[in-house]
Symmetry: C2
Subunit: 300 residues, 2 copies
């Protein structure tokens, strides 16, 4: 049976889905583009090889860092404001072993403050979310994709009009692993960590980061707090300050849409709730596949 | 001739001064307490040995991390509000090879927000500054000691009433050396770095950190900025955001007193000036020695 291949190739992993008769029938994982770099084509050929034995795919569509300057081939950016049609049109297309291969474009924007920004991969989830939920394709919505580099995006009538990358996850990892503030231990007592997270959220605000950071260390020294507490505190403080700042500067929507991993998104939901903001969570994989044209169930 | 020894023993170095007839006549440097830890006494004996050959000192007075839990002997903290007399009274005193040795206390405080904080060593500079400049000992002053862990202190009529440790220097080093935002290079073109610093200051504000951080990377990718620019930008952004936040929360004084290293303090002076605040710089060594009782010239 003829089949198509769609895939999300990010920095840390390649995920390929085989679509036949409108359904995902198989999935294969491979190395991230950050690992293989310019050897991307060989890694792709390795990962897809078992499927090629069944014949040439009708099409191959990839999104993510595969199209970055240090990826397989550099794909363009669509400039914001951009809707799904603008984005699809900007894809890089070439023939690969007889199959039409598309590397989807990234998105680029320049804020009112003159700061340039880019995304590659998250835009598939954003446009996919609008396809899966038509209400998201109308009106104005604040969509957040939590991760190492969070993407905060304003979507207005299906167009991404502005977005900002916020490296909170990277900042947390730096503080945890390399600083004198983080205890450099794995969490042993999740209840302690959760209490620290809640206290970090309570201290967070739009002008509260610098003055509250050192407490992760001083409260262990002076107020009997534990290492687990300190990890949670740093996480809550950073996420809470990020949320307060982004709401103060990007959008005051009463409900924020979260797309992505359930565990990290739940932390953002808690931070938003602490600041009186509702949120709803959409599954990141389902949104990415919808952005790549697959609207069926996640069956494989 | 009889002599006294005063010294500042911080995490990264030991500095001993020999005082005779009201003047500093010699100076010796040794390893930081962060290096020697519990072997502090042996390191101290090594460093002071050439002077001991001339006889036992009248007194030895040390401040800084020498009195930390992981230092030579743990000295107490004086609780804020504390004036110089409270602080001196809290020193730990013992006999060392026939000489009366004092390890000065640190300062501890708990903010109105319940956050505990500590300092060890900087308080000698703060009290010393008030001794050297009697005008600082009256009225209310905002004093900042820039460093890896900046100390922002409110001094009212010679009493330290509140202070907050702000680890901006550590945050900058993490971003420079360990993140995907910092270029991990030494500055090659100081003019580029200075231009980045100014642009970072211009982007800084009380709710501007998270949204402006990623520009250190994106502006290199998309707007032709250099690695030197990015280093300066990160420094200006962090310092500017810190200043805006601390002024919003700790004190709105029209003039801030800076104590410490000239180069880093000049960056803080520039950040304060960008926010319409005057500053004046006091020499850190002179203030520390004044805090330890030496009011003479810095002659050695």
């Amino acid at each position: 049976m003829s089949y198509a291949v769609i895939g999300d190739w990010g920095t840390s992993r390649l995920r390929l889905f085989r679509v036949e008769g409108g359904a995902i029938v198989a999935r294969r994982d491979g190395p991230g583009i950050g690992v293989v770099g310019r050897a991307a084509e060989a890694a792709f050929a390795d990962t897809i090889a078992p499927w090629l034995a069944d014949g040439t795919p009708q099409s191959i569509t990839l999104c993510g860092m595969v199209g970055a300057r240090d990826g397989w081939v550099e794909a363009p950016y669509a400039d914001c404001p951009a809707d799904a049609a603008d984005w699809r049109q900007a894809a890089l297309r070439f023939d690969w072993r007889g199959a039409p291969l598309s590397i989807m474009a990234g998105l680029a924007c320049t804020g009112a403050d003159g700061i340039a920004d880019v995304m590659r991969g998250e835009e598939a989830q954003i446009f996919g979310a609008c396809l899966r939920d038509p209400a998201l394709g109308r009106g104005r919505h604040l969509i957040v994709l939590p991760g190492t580099h969070n993407k905060w995006s304003l979507v207005e009538d299906g167009r991404v009009t502005a977005f900002r990358t916020v490296p909170t996850g990277e900042l947390f990892a730096l503080l945890r692993d390399h600083s004198t503030l983080g205890p450099k231990v794995a969490v042993a007592d999740p209840a302690e960590e959760a209490a620290g997270f809640a206290e970090g959220l309570a201290k967070a605000g739009a002008a509260q980061l610098f003055r509250s950071l050192f407490a992760a260390r001083a409260m262990r020294l002076r107020a009997g707090r534990s290492a687990d507490w300190a990890l949670g505190y740093l996480s809550g403080l950073l996420i809470g300050c990020e949320v307060a700042e982004m709401r103060a500067t990007l959008g005051q929507e009463a409900c924020v849409v979260l797309i992505g991993d359930g565990k990290l998104s739940a932390r953002y939901a808690q931070a938003l709730d602490a600041q009186g903001v509702d949120s709803r969570l959409l599954d990141g994989d389902a949104c990415a596949l919808a952005g790549l044209g697959y609207m069926g169930e996640m069956t494989a």
